[in-house]
Symmetry: C2
Subunit: 220 residues, 2 copies
Amino acid sequence: MATTPSKKPTISTSVIKRLPRYRRFLRDLRHDGITRISSKELAHRMNLTASQIRQDLNCFGGFGLQGYGYNVDDLYREIGTILGLDKCRPTILLGAGNLGKAVARQLDFQSIGFDLIGIFDKAPEIIGREIREITVADVATLEDFCKENHPEAAILCVPRTQVPALADMLVEHGVKGFWNFSHCDLTNRYDNIAVESVHLSDSLMTLSYHLNAQQDSKKK
Amino acid sequence: MATTPSKKPTISTSVIKRLPRYRRFLRDLRHDGITRISSKELAHRMNLTASQIRQDLNCFGGFGLQGYGYNVDDLYREIGTILGLDKCRPTILLGAGNLGKAVARQLDFQSIGFDLIGIFDKAPEIIGREIREITVADVATLEDFCKENHPEAAILCVPRTQVPALADMLVEHGVKGFWNFSHCDLTNRYDNIAVESVHLSDSLMTLSYHLNAQQDSKKK
DNA sequence: TAGATTGTTAATCGATTAACAATC
DNA sequence: TAGATTGTTAATCGATTAACAATC
């Protein structure tokens, strides 16, 4: 009854970003029929330290067993739960151009906690098309759609200029998180709204930097 | 003549990852006709500390002027140079499915130092199509293509199972960097090869985590 | 010159690694 | 039991922030 003074650990971003990678390795292990693994062995495979793996996992609880290690299958599922992949969040995609279409087709949303329930665009030649059994709707109908269907998450694949107005409206209607592919900087625009950005050109630029650095070190 | 004992600073990844974002903000400032900016003002706009901006920039040289701040246009171009965006690296795309096609169409490679010179796939229904004025070639012809054209960078949009063999072959032929969209873990597979990965589902999973965390904190 | 703002050194903070007692 | 490996505390390392002298 009494609300226990819940510990508020606040897991660091670095830890959270590593979780999906742990999960991928565990899935592979499971696929290979390996049922248990020590932090040492997993660290070796992932090129990490055993310490880091144990520290990371212990942010969420003691999933291991002294003298034994970790049960691969259990840990795989635990990480899925921590990440919330067992959820089914109503999600909409804004922008069904090259990138939006590819993202919609590429990802298995269901298996990672999202349920794609609507796709919107403003271009007449795109509206009406079918992507993954969803008919692309006119973005003009988006607000009504939100009132009826209450999406929790939105994928932003529209040009950056359209983003602020759209995002504001969606937050107004209860959207709690954005997966942002646009170059509009949404970080720090809202309180208590999750924003995860994928800036493709930023990513390619860092590759460019490293290619440069390679050559420089050779010249030396 | 004498090779000066070149300082070997080795810039940290955190700094490098911030450079493209600096550049984006500077481009916007320039677009708005703003010619100078102080670290304080830029920090305010980017939600960083002025200290961090000055530290970051001073990894590469003193671009500012005491009592004045930074010249927006100069700094914008300096960062471009640091990132190597003035280069023109021959680059190939492997896999012209949903994602590969979208990536090829979405990005302005030229403007960030890459020159897309070939696209390859193995599916007969994709080979022969045109993407950005490049005809998709059979991946079977890739090795010969490399011998003739010496690509420096490769974009990997093929299924993960195909990645290791392809990547090994490309490294053999002198490819120096990968932009990896597959779920194959290429980190630490090679020495002196740059790997920049975009794991879309990993990214979406972290959004899922943050959506979960939001709700948890509300429950409290 | 006085005011502003940098470049840079020092202090703080956080994340990673090492060590080891607890325990299966 | 002996051996192995965790969970957790302590030590180290690196990154961010603060402070301030240099200087435009």
